[in-house]
């Protein structure tokens, strides 16, 4: 039996007991995401696009629920930031050749300053589309990031000025009648304690 015991001992011990994991405590930083969106019904008899949507970002994002679903306590949140803004046409215009050019979207938190969020937007609202990427302006991104941080700090309550006014402008090639959805995606990190066999 001695050779067997030696072989088994060697197999078990070689490389640091890979066959007998030991449970150790670890702190793992999770990442979770969230989205909110606003739909602009763009309707006009002229070629000027000018629509406004007010979004209660705190309520729509529901950060408390996102964190709860992930098992992250709000006190353990380490980062929150805007990840992307995208748009899609959810109801097409009757004119399949309609185009929007020189589009801009601004963001205004409460009664604060109006900051550019999206510049130089072009869209083809003559057909329903999937989400399209846009180039973002740092001023508007900063406004949203500050708002997200304030929403997080105020949990479980609501922060001051939790609403944002998004203003879409641009030029169309004809009269308009379509629905334009803007989606905001955020990313959050937070720590949880886990027991890991290693």
């Amino acid at each position: 039996m001695l050779p067997i015991a030696l072989v088994l001992a060697l197999a078990v011990m070689n490389g640091g007991c890979i066959l007998i994991p030991e449970l150790k405590d670890r702190v793992v930083e999770l990442a979770v995401g969230g989205t909110t969106s606003a739909v602009f019904t763009v309707q006009g008899a002229t070629t000027a696009v000018d629509e406004t949507q007010i979004v209660d970002v705190g309520t729509e994002l529901n950060l408390a629920q996102i964190l709860s679903d992930a098992g992250i306590d709000v006190s353990n949140v380490t980062n929150i930031a805007l990840t992307s803004v995208a748009y899609r046409i959810v109801r097409a215009d009757t004119d399949p050749a309609l185009e929007i050019t020189n589009g801009n979207i601004t963001v205004q938190r409460g009664g604060g300053t109006v900051d550019a969020l999206v510049n130089g937007l072009t869209a083809a609202p003559g057909a329903v589309s999937g989400f399209q990427n846009v180039a973002l302006d740092a001023a508007g991104v900063a406004t949203i990031n500050t708002m997200l941080s304030d929403i997080l700090t105020a949990l479980p309550g609501a922060p001051a000025n939790p609403t944002a006014t998004f203003h879409l402008t641009g030029t169309s090639t004809g009269p308009t009648n379509f629905d334009f959805e803007m989606k905001i995606t955020i990313s959050i990190t937070g720590t949880v304690s886990v027991r890991v066999p290693t």
């Binding site: 039996m1 050779p3 067997i4 072989v7 088994l8 060697l10 197999a11 078990v12 070689n14 490389g15 640091g16 890979i18 066959l19 007998i20 994991p21 449970l23 670890r26 702190v27 793992v28 930083e29 999770l30 990442a31 979770v32 995401g33 969230g34 989205t35 996102i66 709860s68 679903d69 992930a70 098992g71 380490t78 980062n79 930031a81 805007l82 990840t83 992307s84 803004v85 995208a86 989400f131 990427n133 180039a135 973002l136 302006d137 740092a138 508007g140 991104v141 900063a142 990031n145 995606t185 990313s187 959050i188 990190t189 949880v192 304690s193 886990v194 027991r195 890991v196 066999p197 290693t198």
Partner: protein
Amino acid sequence: MNRRIAVFLALALAAAAAVAPPAGAQLQDNLGALSGDNAKKYLGPLPDALSGTMNSAIFTSGKVPMMGVTFQLGVKLMGIKFDDADRLFTPTDPPGFTSVAPYEQAPTVIGAGSAVTQNGQGGTAVYYPGGFDVGEFAFAAPQLTIGSVLGTKAVIRWASGNFSSDNFIEKISFFGIGAQHSISRYLPPLPIDLAAGVFYQSFKINENLLESKAIHVDVTGSKDFALLQPYAAIGFDSFKLDALYEDSTNPGNNISVDFDRKTNVHLTAGLLANLPVVKIHAEANIAATNGLAVGLSFGK
């Protein structure tokens, strides 16, 4: 729908060794924040680890009697070490996000526990989750061997468990079935016993969160020296892993991750202590990931 997640890497122990799943970790939530491409990279070290362990310690002898009642019931324990290169991956920008330099690498499921920030265009950012900071992976499996009919014996592995909804491992199911057939009987007398084996395994966690299927075929040769029986095998492994999880960024949408099928040669060298009632073996494996395995069985 708070999916408190116990650690994925404990699942095999939970499956076979009746170790309760440790509470806490968050695999589903970590996956939920990742796009399909990045989830595939995050879980990247697992297919080789699972393949290297699940496909080991199945057949430990080339000696299969022609006829007679034989059975062995026991537990097999297989383990591997991860390479350091498996701890990081290069992320793909998620839809709508455009990264800017410096471009960061992110931890895989076995990597460091800290999340990584990737800065993007216009001051945006995306965060990639931390890993569970583990260096080894172990898989245990109960195994029943029954024989022999016409030089053939059957091998079965099976385990299942239901855990509270507050744990990651809400449910696991593991099943394997196969057979080993003597090929010595077809050959002129040889100094060793030879047998060919084939084995299929299915392993699921939480229905479809992770689902793996493995096929192992080999030819095992062994020789009796009193109570000791050294053995060696050359074989082939095929392994498939799929994942299905809810996109936390877009609740209600599921993301399916389809890993490429892994195939590899599997070489084994081991020693079996063939005692009257107790069978003990230890072996080394060169496979998808190199590892060690031991087993303890009772029977004849």
